[in-house]
Point group: C2
Chain length 427, copies 2
């Protein structure tokens, strides 16, 4: 048996033990994991220093280095995040529906864990703790396959989590961190259809495509966010400008940042020059269609690729549209199904925008940056699904469970003629 | 462009039109589809006669021929099923949750259609109408890939459905029946990741495996039912006997029929000889472990394969177990995650059985034959999912939708410092 398979089998064997934990046990475990992370702080920082040195040697820089870097504050934040997950409602065992059928059988829909979740991610070591905590909260065992840049940091974090598992008499395999980071090993993991119930890839386009191509297990993709803001003719211009600045500049490197601005032609003259001024003050480069370029001098011409791009940077694609319909058509064509925003005071226009689009999150007069599990009330998120199946948009602990049927009867039969007239009589 | 791709693209283009239909429009359409089926009755019967003749020529017989056969009564039943789907609640647009966040944004979870559903099935022509109706009820467009034995019947049924679509000004492509039934064409369909939102294979083991192996689009499997009845030491023996007879003999060829009987050793002596007598009277062959063979003379020895088998026939695998734990371990090992039943008067044993198993449907003192969308209150079903993602167990119209987020605000920002202090001022 291969190493990957035997590790995954051990994780699968741990899954029923995790599924059987009650709410109080999971809460205590998550608190102890948080404390253990703090106690392992020095070891985690030392491991992270190794990763950082290797990353520097490889020539990584900027945002990539920043994502990899840990310090005491960040470790405290990771521990705090685990305590917050501990305090979230337990989704397991929740009865979502209950009905007594005419024949008297009681039918309940009850949430159970998925089983084994494989999380595949890139450089951020905090995902190791966050994903493990959320999977565990939902009663799952988890296989973590992080990026090679963060391997030492991830191992040190996993060691801290394992200490807490051991202290609770639970197998370390419930949180299995893979050290074999070859692509072949990932492919093998993604084809363990008898073991892995769900794979969640979270990262750049290359990773997502690789997983989608090779997976035989179910996958929920956390793909890019090509998020749009449409400024309608009935928009409050000041409000729209604020949504634009918040959406584009408050954190340009994340998936819920705005990438494309669509402006109704009736407000383009009033809105675009002002918007361009404010954005350029904040270092944003605009790439526009001809109408935009006419209204905003020195705007670079946008290409087809710009409208499809997730820049994750201080760049904004801009287009002036004829009307709401053209805005909807543009978004349908270029959207990654993540998050779209309309700024309008016209309720009918807002309603049409919401109904015509099938993105995971559609907002009226609110910032795209709220497209986040914490902000939308999930407490914490394992990511933002762009797969329109099972979970769509921010995914919390509940999305790591599934509803099943529990039926209670008193001997009801489907076919009354099956009933033995006098079952008391022996043969 | 290949034929499959261009057909699928036309179906995708029809999807937004189907998604935009309101409840009344869908209801009228479904009623008109039912009437159209009845009006096309003679053509459908003539097409079915061709299929039946070809099937006879190929040497098909018994249950396979019966599944293929249509008559006036069956056509009336198909039309009636469409009318029942018309009367079901519309899942699209339902707000499942609503919350106002501390910052004032209103967050709703709203059901939208999945988009394009590809249904892949085998000989039963009624699935053509049933699946189309349920997909449409949930606002989806559908691609139907039936079995070659039923091609003429399926084409005739699709023609009837298309008449109704046309009468409502809707594109026929909303219900696309594939005529290219080569395996290569199915593989191509299953890899249209930019078009097909969900593939549902429903059929025998070979079909399901083929789809799982080749699909790149999301798949919800409708796999076999290796359903168990466990007769606990605290069982009401008469009740258990009735569940056994109903589960095994009322319709042995369906997936919610019982395939394996597990009996607690403390009641085996009282239960098994009587059960064997009653079952044998009804033509059931028993295959047992050594303990069963001792209690029931002339019982064939069960093999490992028998415990894993979905017989779909008057055959029952039987095993005497030491206790509830051994029953649970047996089911965990051999179950196909479909439906399991415990007969017991001991509430604690029932609770343990339910919690320890993760099958889609778990029943206490009720027949496995209730594991069905209609019986469990879904109104109709597109099948019974054995994939523990999105939908698990009987799948109704609601399972052909997905919840997404709709957010309404009044200009809320994630980072207050994004706010332009005096946006009224021009540049």
């Amino acid at each position: 048996m291969s190493d990957i398979r035997s590790l995954a089998l051990a994780c699968r064997d741990a899954a029923p033990l995790m599924a059987a934990l009650d709410t109080a046990a999971k809460m205590a475990l998550l608190h102890d994991m948080a404390s253990s992370l703090e106690q392992h702080g020095d070891a985690i920082l030392a491991a992270n220093a190794r990763d950082m040195q290797q990353a520097l040697d490889k020539g990584l820089h900027g945002a990539m280095l920043d994502r990899l870097r840990l310090d005491a504050t960040r470790i405290a934040a990771i521990a705090q995040a685990l305590r917050e997950v501990a305090g979230l409602p337990d989704p397991v065992g929740v009865v979502t529906r209950r009905e007594t059928r005419p024949n008297g059988i009681a039918v309940e829909r009850v949430r159970i864990p998925l089983g084994v979740v494989a999380m595949i991610y890139e450089a951020r070591p905090n995902v190791t703790a966050d994903a493990a905590a959320l999977c565990l909260k939902a009663g799952n065992a988890v296989i973590l396959r992080g990026g090679s840049e963060a391997l030492h940091s991830n191992l040190a974090i996993a060691a801290a989590l394992h200490d807490a598992l051991r202290a609770h008499g639970l197998p370390e395999a419930a949180i299995t961190l893979l050290q074999d980071l070859r692509r072949e090993a990932m492919v093998e993991l993604l084809q363990l259809t008898d073991i892995v119930d769900l794979a969640i890839p979270r990262g750049g386009e290359g990773l997502i495509r690789f997983v989608a191509e090779h997976a035989r297990v179910p996958v929920i993709k956390h793909y890019k966010g090509v998020c749009h803001l449409f400024v309608d003719s009935a928009a409050d211009v000041a409000l729209a400008l604020n949504l634009l600045v918040d959406g584009k500049t408050s954190r340009p490197g994340v998936c819920n940042a705005l990438e494309t601005l669509l402006v109704h032609k009736d407000v383009a003259g009033a809105f675009l020059p002002r918007a361009a001024h404010v954005l350029r003050e904040r270092g944003v480069e605009l790439r526009g269609d001809p109408a935009t370029c006419r209204l905003v001098p020195d705007t670079k011409a946008a290409t087809e690729d710009d409208y499809a791009a997730e820049f994750l940077d201080l760049i904004l694609a801009v287009r002036v549209v004829e009307d709401l319909d053209q805005a909807i058509a543009h978004i349908r064509r270029y959207s990654s199904d993540h998050t779209e925003v309309i700024a309008t005071r016209d309720e009918a226009a807002a309603q049409r925008f919401v109904q015509a689009l099938r993105s995971a999150v559609v907002m009226v007069n609110a910032s795209s940056r709220f497209s986040d599990g914490g902000e939308l009330g999930l407490g914490a998120e394992i990511g933002i699904s762009t797969t329109r199946l099972h979970a769509y948009g921010p995914m919390g602990a509940e999305s790591l469970t599934i509803e099943r049927f529990v039926v209670r009867g008193e001997g009801q039969l489907r076919h009354p003629q099956s009933r033995i007239e006098d079952p008391g009589q022996g043969p």
